[in-house]
């Protein structure tokens, strides 16, 4: 700085409180750091307990039994721990729910982002949000008391508790999630790309199908995976509507028991601390955690692999 530039300003009229600003800065950093640390330690704590109790479980029950037995009877005298009994139910219900949520969610997303006039949008979006806000216990009773009886009118061998109704209603529950995240993905497809398609003589449908959907595929898939994670971890609907009868296989007409339903059963009854049943809880919880974790990793990888970079 040259003297004649600063010369106009009286030197005493500027006195920034640098020290105080620095202090505040440090304190703010510490506070936010503390909050960040709390969430990290909570996660570590949960994981730690899960791992610790799971190891304890596998000291009593071999991992081979866990993976190969065909029945799930940890509370009976003749105990069996075939986890695939619970996994099959969880997977079946998740698949049914995705079969509902993918077309419904994706169609509403396309409709909202590409077809709806601002007025239709104004009506449709809140409806979706209401759907997302319905408590899961209500969905559960709806599945058990409305959907199942209705389905039984033309599926006579459908039992009172079954995977089908639970899966269908679960699908409706996760639809808003798929719809809203997919809509974000569709919305973020650059305007210039759509213009490019229209300028080549594409109709709206052709633009949506051949340009917009492929360009948004990474976002759509990750929304779907998030929805699957929700479906896998969902508890209330499956506990109420799918029953509590561990059955190996993929028959949607009979009562089944998902991993989450089992956890509810054990925690609701009182399995004494330290018993095998108690430890089973953690082994199942761990399995559930690993499944959703794997889904998230896959989604992360997929998005990085397939996301297009537009600048």
């Amino acid at each position: 700085m040259t003297a004649d530039v600063t010369g106009d300003i009286a030197p005493g009229s500027w006195n920034p409180k640098r020290d105080r600003a620095k202090m505040v800065q440090i304190i703010v950093k510490i506070i936010f750091g503390a909050f960040a640390a709390i969430s990290i330690f909570t996660t570590i704590g949960i994981l730690g307990t899960l791992i610790f109790e799971t190891i304890a479980f596998f000291q009593e029950v071999s991992i081979i039994r866990f993976l190969t037995e065909t029945r799930w009877t940890p509370l009976f005298a003749s105990k069996q721990f075939g986890i695939f009994v619970l996994i099959s139910a969880t997977v079946m219900i998740a698949v049914i729910s995705v079969l509902v949520a993918l077309p419904l969610g994706l169609l509403s997303a396309v409709c909202l982002s590409e077809y709806a006039t601002p007025r239709v949008r104004k009506i449709l979006k809140p409806i979706l949000e209401i759907l997302a806000g319905v408590p899961t216990v209500v969905y559960g009773y709806f599945a058990l008391l409305t959907v199942t009886p209705f389905l039984q009118t033309f599926l006579p061998n459908l039992q009172g508790f079954n995977a089908l109704s639970a899966g269908l209603v679960l699908g409706v529950m996760i639809t808003p999630l798929v719809a809203s995240l997919s809509e974000d993905a569709l919305y973020s497809v650059p305007r210039s790309l759509k213009d490019g398609a229209y300028a080549l003589g594409a109709t709206k449908r052709e633009t949506v199908v051949s340009v917009i959907l492929p360009a948004a595929v990474s976002g759509i898939v990750s929304s779907l995976i998030l929805a699957i994670s929700r479906a896998v971890g969902e508890t209330m609907i499956v506990t109420l509507a799918a029953g509590a009868n561990p059955t190996l296989g993929f028959n949607p007409f009979v009562p089944v028991m998902t991993m989450t339903a089992f956890i509810v059963q054990i925690t609701a009854g009182d399995a004494p601390h330290g018993t095998t049943a108690y430890k089973t809880l953690f082994a199942v919880g761990m399995t559930l955690f690993l499944m959703t974790f794997a889904l998230n990793i896959f989604s992360f990888w997929f998005v990085r692999r397939f996301r297009e970079k537009y600048d």
């Binding site: 490019g196 229209y198 492929p214």
Partner: protein
Amino acid sequence: MASPTPSSSISAVAESKSIALKAEKVSVYYGSNLAVKDVYLDIPEHEIVAFIGPSGCGKSTILRCFNRMNDLIPIAKVEGRILFDGEEISGKRVDPVELRRRVGMVFQKPNPFPKSIYDNITFGAKINGYQGDYDELVERSLRGAALWDEVKDKLKESGLGLSGGQQQRLCIARAIAIEPEVILMDEPCSALDPISTIKVEELMHDLKSKYTIVIVTHNMQQASRVSDRTAFFNAIATDKGGKMGYLVEYDKTEAIFSNPKEEYTRDYVSGRFG
């Protein structure tokens, strides 16, 4: 402020050339904002017509009238008559999808689809039901856009992996793949480096024998290098505080640059404003 009368500028094309595109008293509104007013313009076949003028004076807006891209902007409203090969294209009865197959467009920012180079070219052909040989179409279009030699070994790679200049030529190749009669270019070189710009300009010269080309450019040298005719647009402030564009003068490019009739044009091409 002088009144924006279009004066002799509308001076349609004097010689008996056939007219590809014609604008008759075209005005475009965005909402209630009058963006461009009363444009009269004749664009002869197999010529290159450049639109120049300060930004915001409605060059892109008028360009988009010729392939009805303004239809995609909900608040845009076009008034007046636009004729293509003597037929009115501005009415409700004309299908813009059909029109856009015959009037192609290249945008300011290269916008290849996130697909392979090959699929970028065949996209338009597929949706328009092209019956011929696709490999041949891809080669012909890429050669036509002077891109073939650079990409012939990587046709399956993504179009987004190309350099900016190559992407823009890919977009030109994509546009000529559906064999339009007219190509509209909205500042096609503004995102390109000088060497790519020269390549695209040379390309336009080659394309002229087959297509009518309308190019918007903010670069006056470019207009004088490539175009046969030049339309100079300007904007005046409106009472509502907005800007309203109008066509000041339209003539052969030499005339616009060496002997313009309007003072505004003279000031603009001599670099005194804009």
